[in-house]
């Protein structure tokens, strides 16, 4: 009996230890990336709640930086282009922030639209600037320009999906079914067009649909959330994440939770 207990204790200790090790690894991985649950189960959500709110920017709003367009001016410079790493709207609202549930393990499926993600290259700019792509779903890249682009999605340790494909102006639509399908959740990952060095975007490969990207008004909405308590996280290109101190929200059946975030530019970045 005693020996059994001892064994159990040892086992527990080992588990604890390995957990610590795992956590350590996690910590090391990257504080600037999204956090995902280990597994996610799709099931029907009845009478789910809603989380919505606004993301605001705290700090001196930098002047809009006009991008230097050094080539293909006829196509690329028809409309003035600005750096999109920090887009602050009236009332200090922050665009292009991902707000998401970090630890949800079951809930709704992606809707039909989310399963057809499209990244457009229009007037030498990626649209959208931050793109959510479900894991295992094919990304379609459009070229609306009369110019050659190259879609360069950076490689990562997890997926090794460094995709770099030229998209000639004759090819309006390109499905990255072979190269651009992520097997694992991760991100956001940098996307670039090397031919037009200023063209940058971000892609997040996600395992569940509770991700929102803030619009011009800084608004986000997560709907059909099964009742429960969740960690609410955010990610922004310049302002970073709240991985260290996520907000805890309690969603009640049919209820709505309002949450406002105020982000600052990280000093270390």
């Amino acid at each position: 009996m005693k020996t059994k207990m001892f064994a159990c204790l040892a086992l527990l200790a080992a588990c604890g230890f390995s957990l610590i090790v795992l956590a350590d690894n996690h910590e090391e991985e990257d504080m600037n990336k999204l956090v995902f649950p280990e597994a996610y189960k799709v099931e029907a959500v009845a009478n789910g709640g809603k989380i919505s709110g606004v993301v605001k920017f705290d700090g001196e709003v930098p002047e809009k930086k006009k991008l230097a367009i050094n080539k293909d001016q006829a196509v690329c410079d028809a409309v003035a282009k600005f750096d999109e790493s920090l887009v602050v709207g009236d009332g200090n609202v922050l665009k292009n922030t991902i707000v998401y549930l970090m630890d949800i393990t079951k809930g709704k499926d992606f809707d039909a639209e989310a399963k057809k993600p499209e990244l457009d290259q229009k007037e030498c700019r990626f649209d959208p600037h931050v793109q959510i792509v479900p894991v295992g779903i094919v990304l379609t890249v459009l070229n609306s320009d009369k110019a050659t682009h190259n879609v360069h999605i950076f490689g990562t340790k997890k997926n090794n999906t460094s995709v770099n494909k030229q998209q000639p102006k004759t090819r309006k639509k390109m499905r990255l079914s072979r190269e651009g399908v992520a097997k694992k959740a991760e991100g956001p990952i940098e996307v670039k067009c090397d031919i037009h060095g200023w063209m940058k975007a971000w892609i997040a490969y996600v395992p569940h649909p509770y991700f929102a990207v803030t619009n011009e008004k800084g608004e986000f909405t997560l709907e059909d959330v099964p009742p429960g308590t969740y960690k609410l996280g955010y990610w922004h290109e310049v302002c970073g994440t709240n991985n260290k101190a996520p907000v805890t929200v309690k969603v009640e059946a049919g209820g709505e939770v309002k949450q406002e975030f105020t982000l600052k530019v990280e000093e270390t970045k």
Binding site: N150, N160, D194, H196
Partner: protein, 568 residues
């Protein structure tokens, strides 16, 4: 007897074939990895890091940076885009090294077993090697098109169609409009290859190597996997499409033809997407196969064209009999654009980063400078030619590549020509105790050459009396040309005085402003020599006939002597 020999031969041959398998299976994977670690730690870790992250102690000053093995991103592969390299790829890179980078060949330092062990070990840094269930798909070299003039011509058109010029420039010197902003995935500056200097191609310069880079891309760099811009069109149709596309106005008939071609491509791209997704019916599959065949053909033509841009091998340095020899002309010296310059062979001076005095240049971007020269009774003219991907004429703050400076060149001579081989020369880096005489040209003043005297790299002064050095220059398609003309002899004691037949030490300093070159940070050469090649002496027409006549006389004399002796 014959039969026995034959069996023996077969046996030996058979052994050779079996050997690789025995070798592969003889040692277990674990043993290989353990052995590989030893070799790796001793030979590779100082650049690639103990943990394979490309962060060894020597990595700091290297560009391209040593490969980070934990990312599983390998630039030089024989596999398709997005795939891991084969073991053979890794083995080949270790064996042959990567020209134009700091990765040397390891064939001389490690035996084949050791190199295979290293391959086994570096694969452990990235889990993807273990996880991938299927072998990486290799690029097929089937349907290779032989190197020929016709193929090069077709390739040349495809170079434009495939938009290679965006980065590599109109003539391929890596001077495309996108070149200054290119970075790799590690956010390091990377320059597109200068296709006229294929001795710097990291993955080798065979036509097969070039072809693989098109089809597979260079992972982690800006070089994409190629997409046929006219997929589904034949080479002729593609040519026609480009022709129409470049036309300002089209007739109705042309308009219709154009739309048809566009539809055909759109349709073909749809089929391509289907097949890539593993869909599509038999007919579509057949169409896809056909179109891919055309695409591969095009890629071979393109590879042939790219191959044709470089000389067959790197030119030999201007040492010994290759020394720079100024050719005599009786008349006026030819100006910069005179076609007569093309009749002269270039003297090639390889250059190296200045790593002797801070601030140093560890990653030079200028490979070499080529020089030609003519002289007449009173003057000498030089034509200096070098490749530089960017034309920088001033100090500027550049968001993408940091601060840039103006491009420049300085040509260095001693003030006094050494009397004999043992008499001292000035220090090759702009002199020391003995002074050097310099011609300095800067891109901001394209028609001016300044005379300097220097007694050290940081101790140069403009000469008080600036002599008359006529200067012309041009920058075009990634290449500088500088033409200077000066009197052979001047009144200034600080100037170099030139006489035909005397070998004069010469050396170079060049600055690529876009690469941060300024001051001591530059590319340099060691001392070479040049000579005003003396007009061949008239003696060459006098002595040989005399010798010929003498020898004939000798023959006749000998015959006479023999005859006389016979009759005696």
């Amino acid at each position: 007897m014959r039969i026995r020999n034959f069996t023996l031969l077969l046996l030996i041959l058979g052994l050779f074939f079996i050997l690789p398998f025995v070798h592969a299976q003889g040692a277990t994977e674990a043993q290989n990895i353990a052995e590989g670690k030893k070799v790796y730690d001793n030979s590779c870790a100082h650049c690639h890091g103990i943990e394979g992250r490309g962060d060894g102690s020597a990595a700091e000053n290297l560009l391209p940076q040593p490969r980070d093995f934990t990312r599983g991103l390998y630039k030089i592969r024989s596999t398709e885009s997005g795939q891991l390299p084969t073991d053979q790829d890794l083995f080949d890179i270790i064996t042959e090294g990567m020209p134009g980078s700091s990765m040397p060949e390891w064939e001389t330092a490690l035996d084949a077993d050791e190199r295979w062990q290293v391959v086994a070990y570096i694969k452990t840094f990235y889990e993807g090697f273990k996880e991938s269930e299927t072998l990486p798909k290799e690029i097929s070299l089937k349907g290779k098109i032989p190197y020929s003039k016709e193929s090069i011509e077709i390739g040349k058109e495809l170079y434009t169609q495939f938009a290679c010029y965006e980065c590599h420039g109109d003539e391929g010197r890596g001077d495309g409009t996108s070149a200054p902003t290119l970075t790799d995935e590690w956010d390091y500056k990377s320059w597109p290859a200068n296709l006229h200097q294929n001795w710097n191609y990291r993955g080798g310069n065979d036509i097969d190597d070039i072809y693989k880079r098109f089809v597979g891309g260079i992972a982690g760099s800006a070089m994409p996997m190629f997409e046929d811009p006219a997929f589904g069109l034949s080479i002729e149709e593609a040519q026609r499409y480009t022709q129409l596309d470049n036309k300002g106005e089209m007739t109705d008939a042309e308009e219709e033809e154009y739309t048809q071609l566009e539809d055909k491509m759109a349709n073909a791209f749809d089929i391509l997407d289907l097949i890539n997704a593993g869909e599509g019916d038999e007919e579509q599959k057949k169409f896809y196969e056909e179109s891919m065949k055309t695409f591969y053909e095009k890629s071979w033509h393109l590879a042939n064209y790219v191959k044709s841009l470089s000389p067959e091998k790197r030119p030999e340095a201007a040492i010994g009999k290759n020394s720079l020899r100024s050719q005599y002309v009786e008349d006026e010296l030819p100006p910069m654009d005179d076609a007569v310059w093309d009749t002269l062979e270039e003297s090639y001076f390889p250059l190296v980063g200045q790593v002797i005095i801070e601030p140093r240049q560890f990653n030079p971007t200028i490979d070499s400078v080529s020089v030609k020269s003519f002289y007449n009774d009173t003057e000498v003219a030089f034509l200096f030619i070098w490749d530089d991907r960017t034309h920088n004429t001033a100090e500027e703050e550049n968001e993408d590549i940091g601060k840039t400076y103006e491009d420049a060149i300085a040509i260095q001579f001693p003030v006094k020509i050494p009397k004999g081989p043992t008499s001292p020369k000035p220090y090759f880096l702009w002199g020391g105790k003995l002074a050097v005489y310099l011609w300095q040209w800067q891109a901001s003043a394209p028609e001016k050459t300044t005379e300097l005297t220097a007694k050290g790299i940081n101790n140069a002064t403009e000469q008080e009396f600036q002599g008359d050095i006529e200067t012309e220059s041009a920058y075009s398609k990634g290449q500088y040309k500088l033409w200077v003309k000066r009197a052979l002899e001047t009144d200034d004691k600080k100037d170099l005085q030139l006489k035909p037949g005397v070998f004069v030490p010469i050396a170079f300093s060049l600055w690529d402003g876009a690469n941060g070159d300024v001051g001591t940070k530059r590319v340099i050469s060691s001392w070479y020599s040049f000579v005003l090649e003396p007009v061949p002496s008239v003696k060459r027409f006098i002595y040989p006939p005399i010798v010929a006549l003498l020898s004939l006389g000798l023959l006749i004399g000998l015959r006479g002597f023999m005859q006389r002796r016979n009759t005696e």
